[in-house]
Amino acid sequence: MRSGAAIGLESVTFSYGETPMRFDFALPASSIAAVMGPSGSGKSTLLNLIAGFEKPASGRIRIGGEDVTELAPARRPVSMVFQENNLFAHLDVFSNVGLGRSPSLALSGDDRADVTEALARVGLEGKERRLPRELSGGERQRVALARVLVRKRPVLLLDEPFASLGPALRQEMLDLLRELHAEQGMTVLMVTHHPEDARAIAGKVVFLEDGTVTAVGDTPAFFSDAGPKSFRRYIGR
């Protein structure tokens, strides 16, 4: 099993328009954490900071002990899956996955074999030449996961990746994600609004309110009667 990398945010501050945000927490390597919290609490911003799409005003971000604060997104040991727009609409499935190996699409024979294997792993065998618009929403997210596989980065960030899928499809994708995690062992941070997502796959919950992490803990504890009050209020219990 490959292994993930620990994530640490040390006094990271960021201001988005009017709202000042401050993040200070750590996650052990190879854990799966559900990032939860009300709308506007900074869940996506947190992921964007770790991925490098946003730059903190102050503080450090460490991945696997290394300071990545100044690194460009592509140079960080991170893959990210968005809710939408994970694929280039004019490129076929194979190319979209291949870009995860080479940003200029210069693929060796081994790379090609890896791409084909990754696509088979996510259940898209034989759909290499399809264009994204010829796929269902669930299939498109599978392509994104196949790219995650060929990139082999120790951290995987998912920003409401399955929000636009139906319940059965979402369950399938969660199962696939759990399997991929079992194989690659990457550290996973997934933004979700659904408590059942967290209970299904996440060992930990990171709870945000008003631009700051107010609680981090094990999922069973969070969902028990002894869980944080604000979290229980948020999920309606």
């Binding site: 988005y16 328009g17 009017e18 991925a51 490098g52 799409f53 730059k55 460009a72 997104p73 592509a74 140079r75 991170v78 893959s79 990210m80 968005f82 727009n85 994970n86 280039f88 609409a89 004019h90 490129l91 190319s95 870009l99 995860g100 940003p103 200029s104 699409l105």
Partner: protein, 539 residues
């Protein structure tokens, strides 16, 4: 943030493009300033009653043209929106796109072929008017031609606005049993009203800076606009002082109009075409249906008339002789080369501006207002609408007058001025596609490390091919049909097709002119068609 070097390169290219535009416009202003300083009293004394009358007429014809084009367009657009499904609707919309592709001089000849003294309707008009029909010159000719250009344009823009009405709102209106009147009041009019200032402003600007139509259809000093007067002052009266006065007045006039339009919130450079879901069929009553189709048919006749007349008159010419005429060959070749260069320059400059603006927008922290450079990249190009080609041409003409190289510089002026003039339109074609693609791809490219040439090849080129093709074709057609700059700088040495056409018209070789107009019109249309096809081939 991400890939800072690539971002800086994009911004640098945009600033460079802005510099080219600034030099072109600045050089023209320098020419005017130098001349005004040299002959100050001459320029001041040129502000005489005649000049004021010309200014008044310029405004008056633009106001009338705008009213006559925009008000009917509101109803034509509404009719087309409400009759969303009938055979030929798509064809009509395509036909409505044609006038924009047609050179003004071709349209002028089409109007003359239809309504001129020897036009197709001349006998009919003589019969109902009593006495010999004198032909449609002067204000009425100008108005007919302007409405021909702008009614379909305005109708299409309004239709676009109407298509932004959410489908659910239409369903709701149907469920509430709204008839034609109340759905106009509650559903259609609010959208149209929002689009009105922008559309009317665009049409007004096009009419106030219209040169070719007034030159060819305006009759004598009674129906002359500032632009035509500038041309006459430079080419016939050799009176640069008067040209300076006229040019200053034209700039002030257009600047005032632009400022007023910006106050009411009109977007001079146009905005993204919103993507729309399939239209919900609106159920219309029998009378409304009849009224709608009558309206559409009338608009169709008005737009198709001059085009058909151009074809008929053109076919009447001795086409075989024209096709064998070396002067025609030379003019076509000159036109094509200049137009291709102009289109290339236009698209390169426009793309640089679009990319630079977006790059700066991405770099800017959220919530911060854009800085001056970003604003200049944003609206800089649309300001060329304030300085029409004739004004830029006049400035450079005056500046270069003493060098004796005025006519040698003709090709450069035609290419550069037409390129810059087409920029607002090219940007309108490129920017929505570019920015939408950027919104989808920017993060992904950053995450995967796709930048530089790889990004251009794999991401930008495939998504921008089509709008770039459209922009190129549009810029080329615009340049191909332009008579403004070449009218000033043209000579026996450098003749474009429109210039040759004007010369034949001036020599009363009407049949030749009609034949050449047919050539020119077909050339522009084929260009549009080819680009449209290649653009669509892989999308």
């Amino acid at each position: 943030m991400n890939a800072p070097r690539a971002t800086d390169r994009r911004v640098l290219a945009g600033i460079l493009a802005l510099g080219v535009v600034a030099i072109l416009v600045g050089g023209a202003f320098a020419g005017l300033a130098v001349e005004a300083a040299r002959d100050w009293s001459g320029a001041v004394s040129a502000f005489d009653p005649y000049l004021m009358r010309v200014a008044r007429f310029t405004l008056w014809q633009a106001v009338l043209s705008t009213l006559l084009a925009v008000v009917p367009a509101l109803f034509v657009a509404r009719a087309l929106a409400r009759q969303a499904h009938f055979p030929g609707r798509a064809l009509i919309l395509r036909l409505f796109a044609l006038p924009l592709a047609l050179p003004a001089i071709v349209v002028a000849l089409g109007v003359l072929a239809l309504l001129g003294r020897a036009g197709i309707f001349a006998d009919f008009l003589s019969a109902i008017g009593g006495g010999r029909w004198q032909g449609i010159y002067g204000l009425s000719g100008i108005l007919v031609a302007h409405v021909f250009f702008n009614l379909p344009l305005a109708a299409r823009l309004f239709l676009l606005a109407l298509e932004t009405v959410p489908a659910d709102q239409l369903r709701l209106a149907g469920q509430l049993g709204m008839g034609a009147r109340s759905s106009f009041r509650f559903v259609e009019w609010p959208v149209l009203r929002a689009a009105l200032p922008g559309v009317a402003g665009l049409v007004f600007m096009l009419c106030i800076t219209s040169f070719t139509i007034v030159l060819t259809l305006g009759g004598g000093p009674r129906a002359t606009t500032l632009e035509v007067a500038i041309y006459q002052a430079l080419r016939f009266d050799f009176d640069p002082a008067r040209a300076v006065a006229l040019t200053v007045l034209q700039i002030v006039l257009t600047a005032v109009v632009v400022i007023l339009l910006m106050r009411v919130g009109a977007n001079m450079s146009g905005d993204a075409n919103l993507q729309v879901a399939a239209r919900v069929p609106v159920s219309t009553s029998g009378t409304e249906k009849a009224f709608n189709f009558l309206l559409i048919a009338a608009a169709l006749a008005f737009v198709a008339g001059p085009m058909a007349a151009t074809v008929i008159a053109g076919l009447g010419a001795d086409l075989a002789r024209l096709a064998a005429d070396p002067a025609v060959h030379q003019a076509i070749l000159t036109s094509l080369v200049l137009a291709a260069l102009s289109a290339f320059l236009c698209v390169a400059l426009s793309t640089a501006l679009v990319m630079a603006r977006r790059a700066m927008e991405l770099k800017r922290p959220a919530g911060k207002t854009p800085g001056i450079v970003e604003k200049a990249l944003d609206t800089g190009a649309s300001f060329v609408l304030v300085v029409p080609p004739i004004v830029v041409g006049a400035g450079w003409f005056i500046l270069l007058r003493q060098t004796g190289q005025v006519f040698a510089i003709a090709p450069v002026m035609v290419v550069a001025v037409n390129a810059v003039m087409a920029m607002p339109f090219a940007i309108r074609a490129i920017r929505p596609a570019h920015d939408a693609a950027s919104a989808r791809h920017e993060k992904l490219c950053a995450a995967l490390g796709i930048s530089g040439l790889a990004r251009l090849r794999l991401v930008d080129w495939p998504t921008l091919r089509r709008p770039l093709g459209t922009a190129t074709a549009f810029a080329m057609a615009l340049s191909l049909g332009d008579l403004g700059v070449i009218a000033l700088f043209g000579s026996d040495a450098v003749q474009t097709l429109p210039y040759l056409l004007l010369a034949r018209m001036g020599a009363y070789r009407t049949a030749d002119a009609a034949g050449l107009a047919l050539f020119l019109g077909i050339l522009c249309l084929v260009l549009m068609l080819v680009a449209d096809r290649t653009g669509k081939a892989r999308g």
